[in-house]
């Protein structure tokens, strides 16, 4: 192991971290909006909304992300005249937007199932209690259903975010120079695959460690009822005697 080389590699690969994070967070954020929409469509019990959402989830969960990226980037590239006519080519011309689109569509499919699970796990008696208090419609959703669903879905959603951070490595196949892209380039210059990939793996590990801590903090913040209540001051007890 050549530690001086690994330090240089680490510094080089850190240059890809902004793009890796940019791709992950843009696609997770956009994907979450789409996923919420899909989950509501699936739970609407209206067939014309439910079926397209089911079909969408089936297609994007059932095909590899690598294939999706290839199809969106190289596949749609073959239809340039059509896309130009529709004014979409400026978007599809850029590898960055193709990567964001593929990652967003992919994560939305997984996340919509996670959100649906969360929404369905809201205990019925809580909803009934809210109704009894006179809440209904959007107020019921905003005050009762959504907060409980988010809390239930968060652990699974956290893994989805981590999966997305790792999935950005696939963007390197469409010329995006994020951490893995830079690693591949460095290997081709130095032919030292083992050291470079160890460092690249380490960088992903650090990123995901930070993300898991953040998610844990949010979980803690959302679950006050699971925390141990603060200890009762002994002086008060003494006063009763």
């Amino acid at each position: 192991m050549d530690f001086a080389f690994m330090r240089d590699t680490f510094l080089t690969l850190m240059g890809g971290v902004p793009l890796t994070l940019n791709l992950s967070f843009t696609s997770v954020a956009l994907g979450a909006v789409l996923a919420m929409l899909l989950a509501l469509m699936r739970m609407s019990r209206i067939k014309v909304l439910d079926w397209p959402a089911q079909g969408y989830v089936f297609v994007f969960r059932g095909t590899p992300l690598l294939v999706q990226i290839f199809l969106i980037y190289y596949g749609l590239g073959q239809f340039r005249p059509t896309l130009q006519a529709w004014g979409l080519w400026t978007f599809f011309r850029e590898p960055y937007w193709c990567a964001v689109l593929a990652l967003t569509l992919n994560t939305a499919a997984y996340a919509s199932e996670i959100i649906r699970g969360g929404l369905q796990s809201v205990p019925h008696n809580q909803v009934e209690a809210a109704r009894a208090c006179g809440m209904s419609g959007f107020l019921l959703f905003r005050r009762i259903v959504f907060p409980i669903a988010v809390r239930q879905a968060l652990p699974a959603y956290g893994s989805e975010i981590i999966l997305m951070v790792k999935a950005t490595s696939l963007a390197s196949i469409i010329t995006m120079m994020e951490v893995t892209g830079l690693a591949a380039k460095l290997i081709s210059q130095t032919f030292r695959a083992v050291e470079v990939f160890i460092v690249a793996g380490l960088i992903y590990l650090i990123l995901n460690f930070i993300i898991t801590r953040i998610i844990m903090a949010i979980e803690w913040w959302l679950s006050p009822h699971l925390r141990r209540p603060p200890a009762i001051e002994p002086r008060l007890e003494a006063a009763h005697v």
């Binding site: 591949a184 032919f191 695959a193």
Partner: protein, 281 residues
């Protein structure tokens, strides 16, 4: 059965010739990329084909060894050789000083110039020097002038190259401040992006560019600008081997020299490249 008998005798002979270094039959495992037509590519039906596949079979017959040809992605092709996944590389790989630090090469078995591929209706089709070739070693002044002559047209354009190739190195060294460089895993991918209009030009070996032109969807692609050879573009395409494999290098060298001498390389390169790519001494 005669085939197997001949093969058997051949192997026996080779084992005896090596001096009984190993009693086993000698198999040389050769890696190629399988995505760099016409050097090596995966044909219909998934079989490896191309100039280097034909040449490898010819060289192995001369070396009297059994050859196994495997496909390996380009960006990992040298690390996997180091890791002894195979014994030799025949993948359109040029001899360069950088690669010589890590691996060893046989004598070159082919040499073709490198250049730009652009679409016919692109302004870059008028790049200076189309049809001529300049050697970076023998005529550094002329090469410099040719590159300077490109710059006004190339300014601000996007050029695609295959990652970790001499082509990538060339563009990065001479045109880094003039063009945006995009790196691709295979040449097939940058071809697609050229035809999609994401790239203004690609820089690749001219033999590979000619093969791309043969495809119907690339009939509007032209080779533009001065052809480049020598310098960091390397001293010709050769078999890559581990540094400690001196015996293998010796037998490859002899086989290649024999194949150059009897015109096999000329015949094969004319078959696959439509030009004679025999390396000049």
């Amino acid at each position: 059965m005669t085939f197997f008998k001949t093969l058997g005798f051949g192997l026996l002979a080779s084992v005896l010739a090596v001096g009984g270094a190993s009693a086993q039959e000698k198999t040389v495992k050769i890696a190629t990329e399988g995505a760099y037509a016409p050097w090596n590519f995966t044909g219909a039906g998934g079989k490896l084909e191309g100039f280097e596949i034909d040449l490898a079979n010819d060289l192995c017959a001369r070396m009297k060894v059994k050859c196994e040809i495997v496909a390996q992605d380009w960006d990992g092709i040298i690390p996997a050789l180091q890791a002894k996944k195979y014994d030799a590389i025949m993948a359109g790989m040029n001899i360069t000083d950088k690669r010589l630090e890590t691996i060893n090469f046989s004598v070159p078995y082919a040499a073709t110039p490198h250049g730009f591929g652009v679409m016919k209706d692109s302004p870059l089709a008028k790049l200076a020097g189309t049809g001529t070739t300049v050697n970076l070693d023998k005529d550094p002044e002329g090469a410099k002038k040719a590159i300077e002559a490109w710059k006004p047209l190339l300014k601000g354009k996007t050029v695609g190259v295959q990652t970790s190739t001499v082509n990538a190195q060339f563009v990065e060294t001479y045109l880094k401040d003039t063009v945006t460089i995009r790196e691709y895993k295979t040449t097939e991918q940058h071809d697609l992006d050229l035809s999609a209009g994401r790239l203004d030009a690609i820089f690749a070996g001219q033999a590979a560019l000619k093969a791309t032109q043969e495809k119907p969807e690339f009939k509007d692609m032209v080779i533009a600008g001065t052809g480049m050879r020598g310098g960091l573009l390397g001293r010709g395409v050769a078999v890559g081997m581990r540094k400690d494999d001196a015996d293998l290098k010796k037998s490859f060298d002899e086989a290649i020299q024999a194949a150059i001498k009897d015109g096999t390389i000329k015949t094969l390169s004319e078959k696959w490249f439509k030009i004679d790519a025999t390396p000049q001494a």
